[in-house]
Symmetry: C2
């Protein structure tokens, strides 16, 4: 894999757009996400309103379930002390999938328990039902999703979760995914697990404070994460998948000839 | 899933044998494993010698790599301060797979990136190449494996790792797996990540002390984990897989009709 990346050209890399990067600031550091408005334009637009209103500042991470998710939002959601959502919509329709047409879907050849076709769209792991069918983001480690109640319409972006364990792909197409973590994942994965049902923290003392959530476009350039991500619609990414599919390193004595969607690494590098 | 388990009969459950249970005692609590001697008889026999000699006591967890593994052993391994392995073998042949013949393999119907057939053998996730081919334990979350260097013969059981992230199934049949965690997993998954290459801790201060490792058969009965595990060769387990394959709960609006091997839950219950 190292060799493939060393042989890459600058055009194989891209800088994520500041307006599509989300910064979750915790006491322990920051977690940075890239969002995918091509998949969830309405919920991301709503999230922009919430962030502009500083809705999340001083809220908290309220759930950490081992091998599953970390989740944050308003602990008072649903009761009279709930924070106002201001100009944001309180209920939006689901964006569980979209038309595949027009998406730069790069398929990987792999058997998959949950989708007929799997691959990547502009840096995000995705599933697809053929070129003219549906396409959706997939619940791999590090993906960011929108919590909802039983109604598919009940999501609004005020309650978010990140996959911190083995990919819960049965959630695909049942929740709207917004993007993925590109830095700081270990700040979430190492959080103490909640001892309540579903890993919810049982007391306020356990809550993990959120200092702020901001979009990159709101930050001074000196505060932005200086990073480049490997483009997934490149020959280099194809070679990287091949290098991971069949491992030639001396350590491997019986390399497989396959790779699972959520086992494909998505390389980044510091911006020069 | 709850309904399936409530309808189970006592004969659907088994107590793991004390001699196949391993207790890793940390300051923070204990992690309990069930081992699978049908898959790795020689390495488990070697581990019994190491444990009887108290080889692991006061050694340390030396590695925690996010979304991958936690690993422990002798930090001085390979240098002159290395702890003696006593009567244990310093090098054993690989037990990466075995003959499938004679194993009570219960297949689940699922596409899988890494194996033609996947299922369970007496409580352990497994892959198989047909009834007369090879069978092996698979690298799902919580599986316990034997670290080795480049030679397939270089494993001995003195250096062990646990899968703490998305299943690294490309390691299947390339490392000997010994069993899986049945309690205390979160003590491993929440450990601080090492900042060195591959998640190794960079200083002794970061090491996580191992107080002791014991087999259940060495413990007083009052110290043993009182637990029952669902038998995987039962109709109840088959029903549980079906209940997870197609989720009928109201929350699911577009349930899949499939389940990945490492997404199948392995239920336990406290012993009455």
């Amino acid at each position: 894999m190292g060799g493939v990346l060393e042989a890459s050209s600058d055009s194989d890399w891209r800088q994520p757009m500041p307006e599509n990067m989300l910064y979750l600031q915790l006491e322990s550091g920051r977690v940075v996400f890239e969002l995918a408005p091509d998949f969830a334009p309405n919920l991301i637009a709503n999230l922009r309103i919430l962030v502009a209103d500083r809705y999340f500042d001083d809220l908290a991470i309220i759930r950490s379930q081992d091998n599953y998710v970390v989740q944050w939002g308003d602990p008072n959601s649903g009761n009279e002390d709930a924070r106002s959502m201001g100009a944001a919509a309180e209920m939006l329709g689901p964006e569980f999938y979209r038309d595949a047409e027009g998406l730069p879907f790069v398929r990987i050849q792999s058997n998959d328990a949950y989708a007929n076709e799997v691959g990547f769209v502009a840096g995000f792991p995705s599933g697809r039902e053929g070129e003219e069918g549906r396409a959706w983001l997939t619940h791999c480690f590090g993906m960011l999703g929108v919590g909802r109640a039983n109604s598919p319409r009940s999501g609004n972006g005020a309650e978010l979760y990140v996959v911190t364990g083995h990919a819960p792909r049965h959630l695909d197409r049942n929740v709207t995914l917004l993007g993925r973590v590109i830095e700081g994942m270990q700040l979430l994965t190492t959080l103490p697990r909640g001892t309540g049902p579903l890993g919810f923290y049982e007391s306020e003392d356990e809550y993990v404070a959120i200092k702020s959530i901001r979009f990159g476009s709101e930050l001074a350039s000196s505060e932005r994460l200086e990073i480049e991500l490997l483009r997934t619609d490149t020959e280099t990414f194809g070679k990287l998948i091949e290098a991971r599919r069949y491992r030639v390193e001396e350590w491997f004595v019986d390399p497989t000839d396959s790779i699972g969607l959520c086992n494909v690494p998505l390389p980044s590098r510091p911006l020069d």
